[in-house]
C-alpha cells in the first residue's frame, strides 16, 4: 500500500465521487467513457481512438499484470485520465517491463481509484455520455463540476489531426503488395496485421495530399481508426473520394468506416452510449456466422441513411442492430465499424485482413 492521496471525479451533471489518486497527481478531463473488456488495459489506454477521453474500466482490478512494450498501441498513452475500482499498485508478470502506476506516471496520466465504477457506468447508461474531470489538486467539488461543464465538447470536434503521424513512414518495405494507410490515429496492431500478410504499408499523415499518396503507387488504400467526430473531416473525405476513383481496393476500420460511409452521403451520428468492450457479437450477413468483436466507437452510421444502391450492410451488431460493416457497391471497398485487429479482444475477425489482401491480389492480377 502506498500513501493515499485523495482525488475527486466530477461529472458535468453535478455528480461527484471521491477516491484516491493514481498515476501522476494533477487535474485532467474529458468525455467519461467505460470499457467492459476484462483484459487489455494497456492496449486501451494507448489506443489513439480514445484520445482525450477519461477511460473507466468496468473490471475492478486493473494493473494486475503490469505493462509491457509489446502491448502498446501507440508510443503515448492516449486517454486523458483513468478511472478504476481497485488499482493494482504492484503487478505480477515476469514478462512485464514495469507497473501500471510507473507507466501512467511516466506518461503524465492522472487517474482515480476506489470509486464505485459500476454505479458510474449505470449513471452514464441512463444519462448518456458526458464530460468529467479528475483532480487530486483541487479540493472543491463545485469548482470541479464547473470545470467538467466547461471542458471542450467532443461533438463536432476533429481530433484525428492531433494524433496522426507527422511524416509518412514505410513499414515492411519489401512486401509484394503496397497499401497506403491514412493515419487518423492508427493502432500498431493494425499495422502488424497488414505487414504480417506480406503487405508493405506506407503510413501517411491524415492531411497528406492524394497526389502525394498516389505517387507511392499503392495497390490498396486503408483508412484507419481514430478519435473524434468524422463529420467535420472534409479533408479526409476528399482523400477517400479520390481513392475510390483509382478502382483499387479500399478498407476502412472504425473512423475509416465512418468516413467511407460519409463519402457516399450516409449519415454518421453520435450514439447515446458508445460501444466499448471486447465482447460484442457481430453477425456477418454474408456467411451467417457470428464473430465476437472488439469495439470502440461513440459514433455510428445511421442504418436508415444507407442507400441500397450504393452499399449493403454486411455486418450487424446482434445486441442493438447497429451497422457494423458496409460492402460498397459503387466502388471497390468495404469497411467495418468494429476492430478486427482486436488488441485487446478476440481474434475472430482477422479474416477481414485476409479479405483485403485477397482483393488486392485480385485487383493486381
Amino acid at each position: 500500500m502506498l500513501p493515499k492521496k485523495r482525488a475527486w471525479l466530477a461529472l458535468s451533471d453535478g455528480t461527484v465521487v471521491s477516491g484516491w489518486a493514481i498515476g501522476r497527481p494533477g487535474t485532467t478531463g474529458g468525455e467519461l467513457c467505460f470499457n467492459t473488456s476484462m483484459t487489455g488495459y494497456q492496449e486501451i489506454f494507448t489506443d489513439p481512438s480514445y484520445h482525450g477521453q477519461l477511460m473507466m474500466m468496468t473490471y475492478p482490478h486493473i494493473g494486475n499484470y503490469g505493462v509491457s512494450s509489446r502491448d502498446d498501441e501507440h508510443r503515448k498513452v492516449m486517454v486523458s485520465g483513468v478511472v478504476v475500482r481497485a488499482f493494482s499498485w504492484e503487478y505480477s508478470n515476469p514478462q512485464a517491463d514495469g507497473s501500471l502506476q510507473a507507466y501512467l506516471q511516466k506518461h503524465g496520466v492522472t487517474g482515480i481509484t476506489g470509486v464505485d465504477t459500476r454505479a458510474l457506468v449505470r449513471h452514464i447508461r441512463e444519462h448518456g455520455a458526458m464530460n468529467a474531470v479528475i483532480s487530486s489538486e483541487i479540493d472543491d467539488p463545485d469548482t470541479l463540476v464547473r470545470m467538467a461543464r466547461e471542458w471542450a465538447d467532443m461533438n463536432g470536434l476533429e481530433l484525428a489531426s492531433r494524433v496522426t503521424c507527422e511524416e509518412a513512414t514505410t513499414f515492411a518495405a519489401e512486401g509484394p503488395y503496397r497499401v497506403a494507410a491514412l493515419d487518423y490515429g492508427i493502432k500498431r496492431s493494425i499495422l502488424r496485421n497488414l505487414t504480417a500478410r506480406g503487405i508493405s504499408v506506407r503510413l501517411f499523415p491524415a492531411r497528406a495530399t492524394f497526389d502525394e499518396i498516389r505517387a507511392w503507387n499503392p495497390d490498396g488504400y486503408f483508412f484507419s481508426n481514430g478519435p473524434g467526430d468524422p463529420n467535420p473531416m472534409d479533408y479526409a473525405l476528399e482523400t477517400v473520394n479520390a481513392a475510390k476513383t483509382t478502382g483499387k481496393p479500399l478498407f476502412g476500420i472504425c473512423l475509416g468506416h465512418q468516413l467511407m460511409a460519409l463519402s457516399e452521403g450516409f449519415a454518421v451520428r453520435k450514439m447515446f452510449v458508445g460501444h466499448r468492450g471486447a465482447n460484442h457479437p457481430v453477425k456477418n450477413l454474408g456467411t451467417g456466422l457470428v464473430e465476437i468483436t472488439t469495439q470502440n466507437h461513440g459514433f455510428a452510421v445511421d442504418p436508415d441513411s444507407v442507400d441500397a444502391a450504393k452499399a449493403r450492410v454486411s455486418h450487424l451488431n446482434l445486441n442493438d442492430g447497429t451497422v457494423e460493416g458496409l460492402e460498397f457497391t459503387s466502388f471497390n471497398g468495404f469497411s467495418v465499424q468494429y476492430h478486427p485487429e482486436a488488441s485487446p479482444g478476440p481474434h475472430d475477425s482477422h479474416y477481414l485482413f485476409d479479405e483485403f489482401l485477397r482483393r488486392i491480389q485480385l485487383a493486381k492480377s
Partner: protein, 943 residues
C-alpha cells in the same frame, strides 16, 4: 437454424448418486436441460437413480425413471417411451460413458435415436491420452514433452533430455493410472521406474516433464451448429498445476493474464473445441501455462457441462446448461436472447465487474488416517462460491460461507501461529493453504519465500499480504479510535464484524463483540449495498434478480411492497449435508411462491438448483453467515424466515434470529433448541412416558468418564448441534472415551457433548413426519438394515419397514405424535428410534426436513417437501392428497468415497461417511439389492 422438428421425445441421462467429483452440479444442469427442452415443446424422459435431485421430480419431466443407470434400463426406457434423441451431456462422465457404451454396441443407430449435444465418435479422443496428444499436436497446441521408455537406461536418457527431475511417469495400459505418479528425487527414481515397467503389461512407460507449479486455467465454451463459438468464462486456479481443479481455490475471471496471453488461450480453446467432431453444446478446456513464458499446454477437454460450467454459470449469470440444451436441438446462438438482459443476444462473451472466488470444502476429519495432501485426484466433497468487488472481499466471504467455524480468512481468534505448524502446512498443497499464507505473512514471511513454497502467483500472494496489512493496522486500534475510512476499507476487503471485533480486541482493551462493531458501523452509515450479476458489467439494463453484497455505494436491489419470506440454503455440500437439503430448499421456495410470498433465497453453493436465478423471486448469492443474513434481512424486511429446510446451517442461526426479533415460520425456536438440548428433551420424554437410552452430558474428560460409568459401556459420544454424526464415536472402554473427548474438544471447543448408552444389536428406524398442530402425517418410516450404531445416512434403509410388527409401528406413531404435540411442531419432525427386545427407544428428534425427505417423496410420489413447507406457512394437512403411490418396497443404498481414500479402511459407525445415495424399488426379499446388504449388515460396523 430453428429447432429440430424431426425429434419429439428426448432422453436425458442423469449422473446417479453424489460422489466425490460428481455432485449436485449435474442436478443443476439436468434441471436446466429439462426446462429448456420443455420450453420448446419437447417431451422429456429422464433416468437417474438419485432420488435427492430436483430433476427427478415429476414436474421436471414427462416421464421420470428412478432406476439404476445401466445400459439395459436405458434401452428399455427408450423402447417404452419411443425416444427420438438422447442428450448425454448433462449427467457428467457417467452419462457420457453410458451413451458411448451403447453407441459402441450400435444401439442408438439401430434404434434410430439421435445423439444430440455431443459427437459420440469424438469422446474417445478426449478420454484416450495418446489420441488426445496426437490431435493436439496436429492442431499445433502444446503438450508436455515426453518420451517412452522400455528400460532403465532409456528412462535415464529421457529424464536427462527433459531437463531432470521431477518427471511424471505413466505405465502403459495399466488401469486407473496404477503405477503412475511424480518422481521428485533421485532416491525414488529407480524404484518407481522399475515398478512402472513391471506393472505395465507391455513393460513400457511414458515419462513426461512435470508441469507442477505452472499456472492453470479453465475456459467454458459454447458452440452451435453453425460453428459459432463463444467463451462464457475463464477461471484461474490459485493453486497451480498439481492440484485437481476441483480441489483448487479458483477465481473468475482470470486475474494474471495480459490480453495477449488470454487470447492465446482463447484461440487454442476454440481450435480444440472445433477439432472434436461436429456438435452443438458446451465444453470445458483446461490449460497449463508456464510462468514467465507463454508456453501453453492443453491438459484436457470435456465435451459436456461440468462442475466448472455450473460455477461459470453462477459466476457470470449465463445459464450454460440451458443454452447448451437449446443449441443441441438445433438453435444457433444468434437466435437466442440473453435471458439476463432480455434484450441483447445470447451470442456474446460475458463481462463481469466483480471477482468470483470458489473455495472447495473437504471432510478429511471423517476419515482418520487419510492423506490430506492435495493431488491430481479430487478429494473435495463440495464448494462455496463468493462474489465481491475485489479478490480480498470474495476470499473472505468464501471462508465465511465454508461453515467450518471461521469468520473469514483468519483474524478470528482460531489461528495457530506456531511457525513450525504454519510452514509444515505450507510445504505441501493443503486445503487451508491460503489461510497458512496469511498466517505466514503474520509471521513476517516474504512474498518470495511464499512463492517458492507454494508457486501461487505473486499477485494473489500480494492480495493476502494487503489483507494482513489491514489486519495489522486494525489490531493497534480500539473500537473508539478506528475511523470510518479504515472501517470501510476493512468491510470492502470482506472482513466480517466478528473478525473486526477480534482484531480490535487485540490491543489489550476491553473485549469488543460482533454486535458492538455492527452498531458502530451502522451508526457510521456502513451497510452493504447489493449489486446485480448481469453478464454485461452494467452495459445494458438487466432483468434477472440475482444479487451479491459489497460495500460500494449504490444499491441495486429494490425492495418491493410484496410480503416476503426468506429461505436459508444449506451452504456447501459436505458429508451429512448435501443435495437433499437443497432439494427441500427449492421446494420451500416453490411452495412459498404458491402461497403468495415473494421468496428470497440466500445460499453460497454454486452447484445447486437453489442458486439458479430462475428459482426464487430474488437470489442473494451470499454466505449463510449470520452477519450477511442479517444484512439482507435488514434490507428486505421479510415477514419471516424458513429454517426447517436448510439443514443445520440454517438451524444454527435460529438463536440469533430469534434474538434479532425475526419471525421464524413453523416450529418455535425454543422448541427447536429444546430438541437439541438432551436434558430438556429427555424431560419431555420422561413426562410423556417415552423410553430412551440412558445418557449424560459432559463438558470435559472427567465429567465424560463419570457419566459413561453411570450409563454403562458401550457408549455413544457426540457433540450437540452437529449433522451427519460429525465427531460421533462408540466407546467400549474408558481409554477410548478419553481419546475421543480430547479430539472433540479440539474441534468443538464450545459445545457440550452427549454420552448415550449404546444399544447394540438394535434395529434402527428413521421416522419422518409432518405435523400441522393437530394431525400427524406419516411421511415415511424407514427401517435400517444395518444395526443401530451405523449412522442412518450410511445405512441401507427400506421403506416401509420389512420386519417390524404392527404393534411396534403403532408404538412409534404414538410416540411421534406425542413428541410432535409436546414440541408444538408446525412442519417437519423426524424421530430416530432403536428397537431392542421388543422395546422402542427414542434416540433423537429433529424438528426439520431431513436427508430422507426427498427419498420418501420420490418413493411415495407425494411432494413431501412442498407439503411440509405449506404446513409451516399455515396450511392444514387435510388440504393435501396424502395417498402414496409406493407399491412394495423402496430401498435407499448409500455410496461411499472409500475408493478415493485408499489409505482409509472401510468402516461404518455413528459418524456419517457416505456422499450420496440411490433409490431402488424391489418386490421380494430375494432381490439382490436387499439380499446383499442384509447378508453383510454387520460386516463394516465399527466405532
Amino acid at each position: 437454424m430453428p429447432k429440430r422438428t424431426d425429434i419429439r421425445t428426448v432422453l436425458i441421462i442423469g449422473s446417479g448418486p453424489i460422489i466425490i467429483g460428481q455432485a449436485c452440479e449435474f442436478d443443476y444442469s439436468g434441471t436446466q436441460a429439462c426446462r429448456s427442452l420443455r420450453e420448446e415443446g419437447y417431451r422429456v424422459v429422464l433416468i437417474n437413480s438419485n432420488p435427492a435431485t430436483i430433476m427427478t421430480d415429476p414436474m421436471m419431466a414427462d416421464a421420470v425413471y428412478l432406476k439404476p443407470l445401466t445400459p439395459q434400463n436405458i434401452k428399455d426406457i427408450c423402447e417404452k417411451e419411443k425416444v427420438d434423441a438422447v442428450l448425454p451431456t448433462m449427467g457428467g462422465q457417467t452419462a457420457l460413458n453410458l451413451a458411448r457404451d451403447l453407441h459402441q454396441v450400435g444401439y442408438w443407430e439401430k434404434a434410430g435415436i439421435h445423439i444430440i449435444g455431443v459427437d459420440i465418435d469424438a469422446i474417445d479422443i478426449t478420454e484416450d491420452r495418446l489420441q488426445f496428444r496426437n490431435l493436439m499436436e496436429s492442431l499445433g497446441i502444446g503438450q508436455c514433452r515426453s518420451g517412452v521408455a522400455t528400460s532403465m537406461l532409456e528412462a535415464k536418457d529421457i529424464v536427462n533430455k527433459l531437463g531432470g527431475l521431477p518427471v511424471v511417469i505413466r505405465p502403459s495400459f495399466t488401469l486407473g493410472g496404477m503405477g503412475g505418479g511424480i518422481i521428485w528425487t533421485e532416491d525414488e527414481f529407480e524404484r518407481k521406474i522399475m515398478r512402472g515397467l513391471e506393472l505395465s503389461p507391455v513393460h513400457q512407460i511414458l515419462i513426461e516433464e512435470s508441469i507442477v507449479g505452472w499456472k492453470e486455467y479453465e475456459l467454458e465454451l459454447l458452440r452451435d451448429a453453425n460453428d459459432n463459438v463463444v467463451i462464457i468464462c475463464t477461471i484461474e486456479n490459485v493453486d497451480p498445476m498439481g492440484v485437481h481443479t476441483g480441489d483448487s481455490v479458483t477465481v473468475a475471471p482470470a486475474q494474471t493474464l495480459s490480453d495477449k496471453q488470454f487470447q492465446l488461450l482463447r484461440d487454442a480453446a476454440i481450435r480444440m473445441m472445433r477439432s472434436i467432431g461436429t456438435f452443438a453444446g458446451g465444453c470445458n478446456v483446461q490449460f497449463a501455462m508456464e510462468p514467465g513464458t507463454d508456453r501453453l499446454i492443453a491438459i484436457e477437454i470435456n465435451p459436456r457441462v461440468s462442475r466448472s460450467s455450473a460455477l461459470a454459470s453462477k459466476a457470470t449469470g449465463y445459464p450454460i446448461a440451458k443454452v447448451a440444451t437449446k443449441l443441441a436441438v438445433g438453435f444457433t446462438l444468434d437466435e437466442l436472447k440473453n435471458q439476463i438482459t432480455g434484450t441483447t443476444s445470447a451470442c456474446f462473451e460475458p463481462s463481469i465487474d466483480y471477482v468470483v472466488c470458489k473455495v472447495p470444502r473437504f471432510n478429511f476429519e471423517k476419515f482418520p488416517g487419510v492423506d490430506e495432501t492435495l493431488t491430481t485426484q479430487m478429494k473435495a466433497v463440495g464448494e462455496v462460491m463468493a462474489i465481491g468487488r475485489t479478490f480480498a472481499e470474495a476470499l473472505n466471504k468464501a471462508w465465511q460461507g465454508l461453515e467450518i467455524g471461521r469468520a473469514g480468512l483468519g483474524a478470528d481468534g482460531y489461528e495457530d501461529l506456531d511457525p513450525k505448524h504454519v510452514f509444515d502446512r505450507l510445504a505441501k498443497p493443503r486445503w487451508d493453504r491460503l489461510l497458512q499464507v496469511r498466517n505466514a505473512y503474520k509471521l513476517g514471511a516474504t512474498q518470495q519465500e511464499l512463492h517458492e513454497l507454494t508457486k501461487v502467483d505473486p499477485w494473489f500472494l500480494r492480495q493476502i499480504r494487503y489483507m494482513v496489512t489491514l489486519e495489522n493496522r486494525t489490531e493497534g486500534q480500539s473500537l473508539d479510535t478506528i475511523g470510518a475510512e479504515d472501517l470501510l476499507e476493512l468491510k470492502q476487503a470482506g472482513y466480517s464484524d466478528v473478525q473486526i471485533a477480534w482484531m480490535l480486541s487485540q490491543g489489550g482493551g476491553a473485549r469488543v463483540t460482533e454486535d458492538m462493531v455492527r452498531r458502530k458501523r451502522l451508526a457510521l452509515g456502513l451497510k452493504p449495498s447489493f449489486k446485480l450479476v448481469d453478464t454485461c458489467a452494467a452495459e445494458f439494463p438487466a432483468v434477472t434478480p440475482y444479487y451479491y453484497s459489497c460495500y460500494d455505494g449504490e444499491n441495486e436491489s429494490v425492495v418491493t411492497p410484496r410480503k416476503k419470506i426468506m429461505i436459508l440454503g444449506s451452504g456447501p455440500n459436505r458429508i451429512g449435508q448435501g443435495i437433499e437439503f437443497d432439494y427441500s430448499c427449492v421446494h420451500a421456495v416453490l411452495a412459498a411462491k404458491e402461497m403468495g410470498y415473494e421468496t428470497l433465497m440466500v445460499n453460497c453453493n454454486p452447484e445447486t438448483v437453489s442458486t439458479d436465478f430462475d428459482i426464487a423471486d430474488k437470489l442473494y448469492f451470499e454466505p449463510v453467515f449470520w452477519e450477511r443474513v442479517l444484512d439482507i434481512i435488514e434490507h428486505e424486511k421479510p415477514e419471516g424466515i424458513i429454517l426447517q429446510v436448510g439443514g443445520q446451517t440454517a438451524l444454527k442461526l435460529a438463536k440469533p434470529l430469534k434474538k434479532a426479533g425475526v419471525k421464524i415460520f413453523g416450529t418455535d425456536y425454543e422448541m427447536i433448541d429444546l430438541a437439541e438440548d438432551r436434558g430438556k428433551f429427555s424431560d419431555v420424554l420422561v413426562k410423556a412416558g417415552i423410553p430412551f437410552p440412558a445418557y449424560g452430558t459432559a463438558f470435559n474428560v472427567e465429567e465424560a468418564l463419570v457419566e459413561a460409568e453411570r450409563v454403562g459401556y458401550p457408549v455413544l459420544i457426540r457433540p450437540s448441534y452437529v449433522l451427519g454424526g460429525q465427531g460421533m464415536r462408540i466407546a467400549v472402554k474408558p481409554e477410548d472415551l478419553e481419546e475421543y473427548v480430547i479430539r472433540l474438544l479440539k474441534t468443538h471447543p464450545e459445545n457440550a457433548f452427549l454420552i448415550d448408552k449404546y444399544l447394540d444389536h438394535a434395529i434402527e428406524v428413521d421416522f419422518d413426519s409432518i405435523f400441522d398442530g393437530e394431525t400427524l402425517h406419516i411421511s415415511g418410516i424407514m427401517q435400517q438394515i444395518e444395526p443401530a450404531g451405523v449412522h442412518s445416512g450410511d445405512s441401507t434403509a427400506v421403506l416401509p419397514p420389512y420386519s417390524l410388527s404392527k404393534e411396534i409401528i403403532d408404538t412409534m406413531i404414538d410416540y411421534q405424535t406425542r413428541i410432535a404435540k409436546a414440541l408444538e411442531v408446525v412442519g417437519f419432525v423426524n424421530v430416530q428410534y432403536a428397537i431392542k427386545d421388543g422395546q422402542v427407544y427414542v434416540l433423537e428428534c429433529n424438528p426439520r426436513a431431513t436427508r430422507t425427505i426427498p427419498f420418501i417423496a420420490k418413493a411415495t410420489g407425494r411432494p413431501e417437501a412442498g407439503i411440509g413447507v405449506k404446513v409451516i406457512l399455515g396450511a392444514k394437512l387435510g388440504q393435501f392428497d396424502l395417498s402414496s403411490k409406493l407399491q412394495n418396497y423402496a430401498i435407499k443404498e448409500p455410496v461411499f468415497p472409500f475408493d478415493k481414500f485408499p489409505e482409509v479402511k472401510k468402516e461404518l459407525g455413528p459418524e456419517m461417511r457416505s456422499t450420496g445415495e440411490t433409490i431402488y424399488f424391489f418386490e421380494d426379499f430375494l432381490d439382490e439389492h436387499f439380499r446383499k446388504p442384509f447378508e453383510m449388515k454387520n460386516l463394516y460396523l465399527s466405532r
